[in-house]
Symmetry: C2
DNA sequence: AATATATGCTTAAACGTTTAAATATAAAAA
DNA sequence: TTTTTATATTTAAACGTTTAAGCATATATT
């Protein structure tokens, strides 16, 4: 790899000190009253040598890398991919680059990723925290590192977070199905202590309670796993036990997709055999045999808010915000062809 | 943000020079013959102060950031998201972190992203080059920056690249449809000079030629756009003009998805009205009314190979590799429920 | 006793920037 | 003329590491 040209090379070529070059390269020639001729010469030399500033050196000196770290569960998951894209764009506009890492919903991996990003001196972090990472998040608080949690948070940690009104998400979905006349409404959720899930479960149970329907019978809390097989086994057990299910709500995108694979494989018809409401939407929802209903998260807005909040923090704000955005129930009609 | 603890803080606390601390922190205490007692004291102090190395300072000194830059068209696109994930994992194993940027298939944006990553001194780059970025890629060659192109390349630039045998991809798809008895086989592709597309088109036309079928009539080369509306307009014009199409091949994932939206909206039946072969697969393909056939790219293998090639380059290899991997035609049966 | 070797540690430069402070010169004001 | 002010530039330290080179001291070898 070619030796990169530095500010020193330009200084030598023009015959001035590095300070002047630095001033000019940063557009501070007026403020620092650099001679007009000198400015021109420096500009020309920079051009000729094809100078590119070394952001690493700059970062070290300034104590800021203009980089933000993004910890997602899995960048390959379209929901997180979409989120990452919005973060990227917003960060870019604000002059930041994003470094990312996938935690795989695993606390050990999460710790690794977090350490890596911190060692790389990211100025701030956006974290989708996995189960069992309270300590890690508390560590960020202790370090006074600017960061905001997204999608989930911990009740025991007072920090910035932006989440969906998860309760409302499943609540409106359940109510909708109840009003439609269903009584045997199942919810498939992950067995976890993470609030986004417990809230989604609560939204469901409360809606059922209110309607005077048993709210425990059709609740499937299954263990998280990366393997579809594991999901399938748990789900089959549940489904076989309750062959009278009239409607199914899925508590997140992954569960929705997995459920659809199962449903498809087992020749269960939507609608007909069961009604279905998923989470987050996406291409598979649109292109399924019939368009599928789902709980929509305002992901664009959330992404924008997250970055805005973080940049405020990085600019010195000390306000702690807990932002909760509203979901929207998107009901799709049966296709007539 | 708390002042980070540095090697100097540890040195001061223990009462030794920073050099010793550095040696110990890098596990070179044997080689550099640091006293046993001192090692212990340094370790303890590092623990107590919760020392985390500053990778930025390290990078500046060593001239290597242990970072690789990834330029994709759009991280929100599942194909690229999946690829990014593989790259991330492989890079992580090799001790690298990945910084990414989306080029949006736009040369201006690509230049920005590339510059940003270069200024951040990435040790190497993985680039999915957009149209009109030959100059940028040539720039990398001139700088002797280790990089490898993925998915596409430029005939005029001799550099490392890993691509699919694109010709073969559409060729086997077309042959399959011909053998099935179709003669009016359409290909929807992007109008671009990028080889991955031109090769996919060539694979299609050659297969048709060989079968003695007119190979221009049913070829739709449409302009790339981020808007579905634009796609729809071009596609509709094409479809209306050729209402006798028997089968449709889509030249990449985005086109496949867009086509499916159109097909669905216009009540065209797969199979029945037309046969369909898409590109890259994914959840929408599996969950469509009937499972859809597609040309599969060995993306895992490609991702692994890309990172392997790049790490070799970063470790000083000067070999230029052009790797081409085989696609696989995945034919799906009609669902019987 | 003189020399060589081993052990343990320090010094200081370097990486490429930024920037406060100092310096030098010219022009304006006293 | 001397002093002040404005203009143009340099100096040098700092950011947190790594590492070659040097310096003591103790022990082993002649």
């Amino acid at each position: 790899m070619e030796k990169k040209v530095s500010i020193t090379d330009i200084a030598r070529k023009v015959g001035v000190s590095v300070a002047l070059v630095s001033y000019v390269m940063n557009g501070r020639e007026k403020e620092k009253r650099v001679g007009k001729e000198t400015v021109k010469k420096i500009r020309r030399a920079a051009e000729e040598l094809n100078y590119q500033p070394n952001q690493i050196a700059r970062s070290l000196r300034l104590g800021s890398t203009k980089t933000i770290g993004l910890v997602v569960a899995d960048i390959a998951n379209p929901f997180f991919g979409q989120f990452a894209r919005i973060v990227e764009d917003e960060a870019f506009k604000a002059g930041y680059t994003v470094v990312f890492g996938s935690s795989d919903e695993d606390d050990i991996k999460s710790a690794f990723v977090l350490d890596t990003l911190l060692n790389r001196q990211v100025d701030g972090l956006i974290v989708i925290p996995s189960e069992g990472t309270v300590k890690q998040i508390n560590g960020l608080v202790r370090k006074k590192k600017p960061f905001v949690l997204f999608d989930r948070y911990f009740k025991e940690v007072n920090c910035n977070h932006i989440i969906l009104d998860n309760y409302k998400g499943t609540n409106i979905a359940t109510r909708y199905l109840v009003e439609k006349g269903h009584r045997k409404i199942a919810l498939v959720a992950y067995k976890t202590s993470l609030v986004h899930m417990t809230e989604r479960i609560r939204g469901y149970t409360e809606a059922l309670k209110e309607a005077g329907i048993d709210h425990t019978k059709y609740l499937a809390e299954i263990k998280f796993s990366h393997s579809y097989k594991d999901f399938e086994n748990s789900f089959r057990a549940f489904f076989n036990k309750h062959s009278d299910i009239e409607a199914l709500i899925c508590a997140n995108n992954g569960l929705s997709i997995n459920s659809l694979y199962y449903i498809r494989q087992n020749c269960i018809r939507i609608p007909g055999d069961i009604d279905f409401i998923g989470f987050d939407g996406g291409e598979p929802f649109d292109l399924y045999s019939t368009p599928l209903s789902f709980v929509r998260q305002p992901i664009e807005e959330m992404g924008r808010e997250v970055v805005k909040l973080l940049t405020d923090l990085m600019n010195g704000s000390t306000k702690v915000s807990h932002i909760m955005l509203d979901p929207e129930l998107v009901i799709r009609e049966i296709r007539n062809c």
